[in-house]
């Protein structure tokens, strides 16, 4: 992945910034240019709080090459408290301790390393909340 592309995505990756439709208030993650409900193009950024619950999950044993060091790792669909569903890795939890409906919160972690000479990508993962 190219550096400008990583840079362009930093608001999403670091701040969980999606979008809200000014017309019908629909929330989206990732951000959209046109509202999928009302077609309005009046869209503004919206920062999600990073709390949610697990909708589904899988432990990956056969990874994409840039994730080899993390195997086995857990990926999940997470229902954010504000509504939208997001795709992310879970962290700080054993695969056998993950369950559907489990509460999770966002943290910033290393996502992947492109190669020895490539960029290290940081961004959101989700973990069980620290009380």
């Amino acid at each position: 992945m190219d550096l400008p592309r990583i840079w362009r995505l930093k608001s999403q990756r670091y701040k969980l910034e999606g979008s809200q439709c000014k017309s019908c208030q629909k929330l989206s993650f990732p951000p959209v240019q046109v509202c999928s409900d009302c077609r309005s193009q009046e869209i503004e950024p919206f920062r999600f709080a990073g709390k949610g619950s697990v909708y589904s999950f899988s432990t990956v044993y056969n990874p994409l090459t840039q994730f080899t060091e993390f195997v086995p790792y857990v990926v999940a669909l997470i229902d954010l408290a504000e509504g939208p569903r997001i795709t992310a890795q879970l962290t700080d939890v054993k695969p056998e301790d993950v369950s559907i409906g489990m509460k999770v919160e966002m943290v910033i972690r290393k996502i992947s390393e492109q190669s020895d000479k490539g960029a290290i990508v940081y961004g959101y993962k989700f973990r069980p909340p620290i009380k």
Partner: protein, 387 residues
């Protein structure tokens, strides 16, 4: 729009083809389809392929393959819709002939997945999903299907073993298909103990990475009787489209694009579910078979795995499924898969299948090719020409 017919078919065996490249496989399939139809040329060539650019450094397949197949064409172009690329090319060929723009067209699907040491097919297949927000988070394409399977098992209280019948059926049929990659039967115990790829999906839930090419020749239906082979009429070829990402669907277990394309196809063909003699389904993963059968209306939501028994989906069952082994056992050379499905359905409707897998008196087949996690779906209804 006029009706069109398939008058020639060709395919290479689904294998790891160390001795042939992309162009040799595709040209072989094209030439075999033209020989089957006994034609020397066609007016247009539509190529279905997903990963030649990514894995083989080769784009612009339309011109390449027209040249190497010795075709004089007015159009040659490649279409991509992930695992639905084959059907995308087929549909384009159907539309081109149906519209009257050309008098004959070839659709070929081709994929070369197995010989690449410096680029990963797993990474390539993940480009079927959202690169920035799914693959970039570590989701392989298997993992995306695993998310669906886990949720399905949770929501419908469904056990893993319930899916096994689809896999066993596919392997059972593939034994008799000389073009299939896996020609051995498998048993429930093997399924239960297969290696996990992305939990809960194991190796035997998954279709294999493979090379292959398959092609058909399409002409106006009114000319079909001039050809040597029994003609097969394309009664419908309809698309459904959904979001690329699972996360953006209200209920990911309800494949909206499957429902749309099935309903449109059945409406266009003027038929309903009971009129279908066999179904070539997109069984890339056992959960996808299940979800697609439900969304297509062959089962209620949550009940799809109840079809996974020989009395229902076996060759002599009510709805013979994956009659040549499906993606699971014939193999899944992604961009070629949609064309293998068509070639196999045509073989059934010509009554030219090997005896053990010939559906008796097959008159009408439904073929469904799914791109991505059902983001692009093509449903085709084929019918044996009334002689």
């Amino acid at each position: 729009m006029r009706k069109v017919a398939i008058v020639g078919i060709g395919q290479v065996p689904v294998r790891e083809h160390w001795d042939s490249g992309l162009r040799e496989m595709a040209v072989r399939a094209i030439l075999d389809a033209m020989q089957d139809a006994d034609v020397r040329n066609c007016d247009a060539l539509y190529v279905g392929n997903m990963l030649a650019g990514y894995l083989s450094d080769q784009s612009n397949l339309g011109a390449l393959l027209a040249d190497y197949a010795g075709l004089q064409v007015s159009e040659a172009v490649s279409l991509e819709a992930a695992c639905g690329s084959g059907a995308a090319a087929f549909r384009q060929a159907v539309l081109a002939v149906a519209s009257g723009m050309v008098e004959s067209a070839i659709a070929v699907g081709v994929e070369k997945l197995t010989e690449h040491s410096d680029v990963s097919p797993t990474n390539g297949l993940a480009t079927a999903a959202d690169a920035d927000f799914e693959a970039a988070m570590g989701l392989s394409f298997v993992a995306i299907n695993a998310l669906l399977m886990r949720r399905y098992m949770h929501e419908y209280k469904c056990r893993k073993e319930n899916f096994a019948g689809f896999v066993i059926n596919a392997h059972d049929n593939a034994r008799h298909n000389p073009h299939a990659m896996f020609r051995q039967a498998i048993h429930l115990e093997q399924y239960q103990h297969a290696k996990l790829i992305a939990d809960p999906i194991n190796l035997l839930d998954s279709s294999p990475i493979a090379d292959g090419a398959a092609a058909v020749v399409i002409v106006p239906a009114e000319q079909a009787k001039q050809f040597a082979q029994p003609a097969v009429i394309v009664n419908a070829c309809e698309v459904g489209v959904d979001t690329l990402s699972l996360s953006k669907r209200k209920d990911p277990l309800k494949l909206g694009a499957v429902t749309q394309s099935t309903q449109r196809a059945m409406q266009t063909a003027g038929i309903n579910h009971t009129d279908i003699d066999l179904l070539e389904a997109h069984d890339a993963f056992s959960v996808m078979t299940t979800l697609a059968l439900e969304a297509a209306g062959f089962a209620e939501y949550g009940q799809g795995t109840q079809l996974a028994n020989p009395a229902t989906i076996g060759i002599n069952g009510k709805l013979p499924l994956s009659t040549f082994g499906g993606l699971k056992a014939r193999g899944h050379p992604v961009g070629a898969t949609g064309m293998y499905q068509i070639v196999e359905a045509v073989t059934q409707l010509r009554h030219q299948a090997p005896d053990a897998i010939q559906v008796s008196d097959a008159k009408r087949a439904m073929v469904q090719n799914i791109g991505g996690s059902a983001s692009y779906v093509v449903t085709t209804i084929l019918e044996r020409d009334k002689a």
